[in-house]
């Protein structure tokens, strides 16, 4: 079921009524995310950053959902949703600095690339263990409800995460406490190499919501307006004390799991090619071309703008020094205890690994 039909027109019965500006903004954000992804993948291959985990092919699911949430709603990310953070206005330079773990990295080089967060953008922190963020989202939603705040929470996770302990606990708690939370399950077909059909015996992931009595929707995650519509509906249910909603966003990971992965080992070129035709950027572009004067030139210009922007950010990021060595010892606790003070002094006063390398 599509909101944007194959010919680019909207199904009038489903049209969520976004303005031209709004749909163009969505498209531009999706393209920008894609361009950033491409660039990061390249520089990773050149060994300039350690790692990248991208969202190639999943931009509609991510940005459509982010756009449908209100500014005051929280986003609780998995690790593939930096597009949602950028949509909310997070500075690209800051993201790229983080990718380099340099002195301006908000994480102070303490974590792998793509582990973003921002309180200002109501975006919790990316964590590598699969599923752990899902109960956090429920807790944030419970807190918002207890505090009488009109906020809801959208939590992203993948098909693989539905097998995690945390998914099960979070879904159950959300339903029992009627938490205003949206479970945004990006079913991108794979958990690294494991296809969704072998992750679970169910035919869909949406079926799983029945085990908790949570209403569920199954949506074409490559149709940004279908995503927008479903998420907005869920957000409204949450706002009206209707409790949680589970939304399965059917999409496909067009790239590798991360820059460390080679998907050719476990899936066929034909399969990937067939999904390439369903690229969410293509579907949305067809629509905006119908609705406005978007064309190849404009498209190329925008891509060039985005690429120039990210290249500039990369250039700057590479000029920045690494974080202070002492930064390694901060923020373990609110106040640094004696043992970390001692260890920091010992480390700062001692020899460096780099000295060693110099010697040899």
């Amino acid at each position: 079921m599509h909101v944007i039909r194959d010919d680019g027109s909207l199904d009038p019965t489903l049209d969520p009524g976004l303005s031209v500006d709004q749909v163009v903004a969505l498209y531009k954000a999706m393209v920008r995310t894609r361009v950033v992804d491409d660039r990061l993948e390249k520089i990773q291959r050149q060994g300039r950053i350690a790692f990248h985990v991208g969202s190639l092919g999943e931009e509609a699911a991510i940005i459509g959902a982010a756009a449908a949430l209100r500014d005051r709603d929280w986003i609780v990310p998995c690790y593939r949703e930096v597009g949602a953070l950028l949509w909310r206005g997070y500075p690209l330079q800051q993201y790229i600095d983080h990718m380099y773990g340099n002195a301006d990295d908000p994480l102070r080089g303490r974590q792998m690339p793509d582990h973003t967060f921002s309180r200002a953008h109501r975006y919790l922190s990316v964590s590598a263990p699969i599923g752990t963020q899902i109960p956090h989202a429920v807790g944030v939603a419970m807190a918002a409800k207890k505090r009488g705040l009109d906020e809801c929470v959208g939590v992203f996770f993948g098909d693989g995460a539905t097998s995690s302990n945390d998914f099960h606990a979070a879904m159950n708690f959300a339903a029992v406490y009627e938490a205003p939370v949206l479970f945004l399950c990006r079913n991108n077909g794979y958990a690294i190499s494991l296809p969704t059909q072998r992750q679970t015996a169910t035919r869909t992931l949406a079926e799983k919501a029945a085990a908790y009595r949570i209403p569920a929707a199954r949506i074409d995650g490559n149709d940004v307006l279908a995503v927008w519509r479903a998420v907005r509906e869920g957000a409204e249910r949450a706002a009206n004390q209707g409790g949680p909603t589970f939304i399965e966003l059917i999409t496909y990971r067009l790239g590798g799991h991360s820059t460390s992965d080679d998907p050719r080992v476990y899936r066929s070129q034909e399969e990937t090619d067939s999904w390439r035709k369903l690229d969410p950027l293509l579907r949305l572009r067809k629509h905006i071309e119908q609705r406005t004067a978007w064309n190849d030139d404009l498209d190329g210009d925008w891509r060039a703008v985005c690429d120039a922007e990210v290249k500039e950010c990369v250039r700057r990021a590479e000029e920045k020094p690494p974080p202070e060595l002492g930064d390694m010892f901060g923020d373990v606790y609110a106040e640094q205890p004696w043992h970390l003070r001692e260890q920091q002094a010992q480390c700062l006063g001692g020899p460096r690994a780099s000295d060693e390398e110099d010697e040899s």
Partner: protein, 324 residues
């Protein structure tokens, strides 16, 4: 001032926190209507409502995971894990998330939460109602670990833990729950984290203990005093961050240390304490450091009093160490 046992003192602390700070809430299995299987939260749901004293489904992952979320959004959840032995299903949320959230967001987010849990043996609880897993959490940077031995400290440390900006594991010695009574102020007060207490000054041997074993260490010290050995007994109260100075100063004076804990010996906190002392007071040590601990087996039932490092096992350790 009211004469209270440990259960009453903790209950009084929780009540005070709930009264003082509307962001405080309690979560756990059976803590509401039942008042907890040890009745520590008795009456609190009635007083503060099911909204602030939550009976949760049977999921430690859910309790700890949602509590982290609440802590991230302005609340101060005080969770109860019914027995320390049942913390493991939620272990990942504690060590991967609560402990690391501040670090990986450079302080932009943090997790002020408390995990209360009864620990330890001596109540005929066998393998799964007797464990002392404190070392697992001491090994995890980002967590604090507290273990009171008496009602006064318990209330004060608990209130301090609730005010603390970091996640605190609060281990309650269930063997002491109803065994010890003392005068406790009715109003809230705090006991600072990170300060050990010398409960018996002495000159010849330093004996470090906490929780339920503090009483055994004390009893043993009194026993050996009759035989002319003067033991300094230290109640750690906060296990981590440790009050290392109090221990090291004591050992610098006595030259001897005996550490007592219920957990199995190997890789228990005793090893760390011995190592710290060996590193910091090496030249002052006049006898090998000694650990009197649970044996390296799962916690047994019938012979639990031979498993636990009770006074009968501490006494010879103190005597041998003193006479070394």
């Amino acid at each position: 001032m009211t004469r209270m046992n440990l259960v009453q003192a903790i209950n009084s602390g929780l009540r005070g926190a709930l009264q003082q700070d509307e962001t405080v809430l309690l979560m756990g299995e059976d803590i509401g209507q039942l008042g907890g299987v040890f009745r520590v939260t008795q009456g609190l749901q009635e007083e503060f409502g099911a909204d602030r004293v939550l009976d949760t489904p049977l999921s430690e992952t859910g309790i700890l995971g949602t509590a982290i979320g609440m802590a991230l959004h302005g609340l101060r959840p005080v969770t109860e894990i019914q027995f320390a032995d049942f913390i493991y299903p939620g272990f990942d949320q504690l060590v991967s998330e609560a402990a690391k959230y501040r670090y990986r967001t450079a302080g932009e987010f943090h997790v002020p939460m408390v995990v209360r849990t009864p620990y330890g043996g001596g109540i005929r609880g066998g393998q799964y109602h007797s464990q002392s897993p404190e070392a697992l959490f001491i090994q995890t940077p980002g967590l604090k670990v507290v273990c009171p031995s008496n009602p006064y400290d318990a209330k004060g440390l608990l209130l301090e833990a609730i005010r603390d900006e970091d996640p605190v594991l609060f281990f309650e010695p269930k063997r002491v729950y109803r065994a010890v009574k003392m005068d406790v102020p009715d109003a809230p007060y705090t006991v600072p984290l990170g300060e050990a207490k010398i409960v018996r000054p002495g000159e010849q041997v330093t004996c470090v203990a906490w929780g339920a074993m503090l009483y055994e260490a004390f009893t043993a010290a009194e026993e050996v005093a009759k035989r002319g050995v003067d033991v300094e007994v230290i109640d750690l109260r906060t296990l981590w961050p440790l009050d290392v100075d109090t221990i090291v100063s004591s050992v610098e004076k006595t030259g001897r240390i005996v550490v007592v804990h219920e957990a199995p010996r190997t890789c228990g906190f005793g090893g760390e304490l011995v190592a710290l002392v060996a590193e910091r007071a090496f030249l002052r040590l006049e006898a090998p450091p000694v650990r009197v601990t649970g044996w390296d087996t799962p916690f047994p039932l019938t012979h639990e009093h031979e498993y636990l490092p009770l006074a009968h096992r501490i006494v010879p350790a103190l005597l041998e160490t003193a006479r070394y």
